[in-house]
Amino acid sequence: MKSISLYTDNGSWIVRLHPFSKLFYLIAAILIPLISGHLWMFAVTVLASISFLMSSHMLRKAVPLIAFSFTIILTIFIIQGIFFKDNTSVLLTLGPLSFYKEGLLYSSRIGLNILNMLLSFSILVLTTSPSELVEELEKKGFSPKFGYIINSVFQIVPEMMGTMHTISDAQRSRGMETEGKLVTRMKAFIPLISPVVMSALTSSRERAIALEVRGFGANVKKTYLYSHPYTKQDQMMKWGSLTSLAAVIVLRVLHVL
């Protein structure tokens, strides 16, 4: 079964970091440029994220995660560059269209914000195992029932995708058309989705019984088999992120930035 999580363990230093250190970095990297309000601050955090990804050999995997946003960023540049409400000074003219400086500045702010968020988030996603993150959160008091919900999604989805392939093969072999006109494709949706949904709901009943038998609903404190070491690098990541975030807030309040 193919996993839907993007996490891969390549043994690099970021993979070995504690999940919380990466969370601290994520929060700091997203908030710092927004609080500072300067365009160049986005460049700083974007470059920091890229260098982290490069040092852990993850940059190539991060590219497809970010590439999808390029088309929408491009349309933002076109639409805002031409139609932004405060447009006054023309920057360049392409045939009948003229792009304005204000609109382009506004859209580069949006574009950089999106890029920064995606990059810093991809560090967390590519290098952290979801079940490990959930377990660490549970140790800090996160509800184990919600922890179960998150973990089991990662098991259920590959299983349902298997069912989905079986059912679409079965329906096709019975002569159902899945290609052609829009109406034909719309009609094909119901016979495809309803067996998957029905089987998922029925098997959830069995899963509930199996969990109950194993004491899922028991109200006792859980114990953990594995504990993640908290290293010097974790300390550096955590306090580096927190102090730079605090510094930006202080500088902003004192009107230095």
Binding site: T75, K85, I114, M117, I156, S168, A200
Partner: protein
């Protein structure tokens, strides 16, 4: 009908949530497979909301976006957790009020869900994308309104309206067809207002 927000947190309901999240994912996959111009990515949220009530619907919606944000790595999906949360809550409330009993009523529920999505998404679209949605038809509408000099929020609202309401109507039809065929053996498991009768 019973109480509107009463929620049953039994194991059966907890297990229903990941199943619903899986259904959302499969719906989206099938829509892509059949090249439909719709998202159809909240079928599970609606089913969860109808079976478990507004709270479970809200949890399904929010958890759905949080988890997929994590698997696809785009935290833009995370922001729209708020939209899914409100779709789940509004559909759940409508279902508890009895608006899932007949086909026309189910359509009304779908409209309410769609409008909830529009109202919550529009400010998010303005904050993150300058008002666009990324859907070709919706963005064409947005460009037209901006060219006509209308305020950004009206353009963004129309942009979202054109995309979301038809999507939720189709979702509503599918959900109605599925939920009305579910065996009672299953639906009673999730009923928060059920009463156990004893024979003695």
């Amino acid at each position: 009908m019973g109480k509107l927000f009463k929620t049953n947190f039994s194991t059966a309901v907890i297990v229903l949530i990941p199943a619903c999240i899986g259904i959302n994912y499969i719906g989206k996959l099938f829509a892509q497979l059949l090249k439909l111009p719709l998202w159809l990515d909240c079928i599970g949220t609606c089913i969860g909301a109808i079976l478990g009530g507004p709270i479970i619907g809200g949890i399904c919606g929010a958890a759905n976006n949080l988890i997929y944000g994590f698997t696809t790595g785009d935290n833009i999906t995370l922001v729209y957790a708020l939209t899914s949360l409100f779709i789940g809550i509004s559909v759940g409330i409508m279902a508890r009020l009895g608006f899932m009993e007949s086909f026309p009523k189910a359509m009304l529920t779908a409209c309410v869900g769609g409008l909830a999505a529009v109202v919550v998404s529009t400010p998010l679209n303005i904050m993150y994308w300058g008002g666009q949605t990324g859907n070709v038809w919706g963005d064409a509408v947005f460009a037209a309104t901006q060219a006509a000099g209308l305020p950004v929020w009206i353009g963004s609202l129309l942009d979202e309206l054109v995309v979301d309401v038809p999507d939720k109507l189709i979702t509503g039809i599918i959900v109605y067809l599925i939920v009305s065929k579910l065996p009672q053996k299953l639906t009673t498991l999730y009923d928060a207002n059920a009463v156990i009768e004893s024979l003695d």
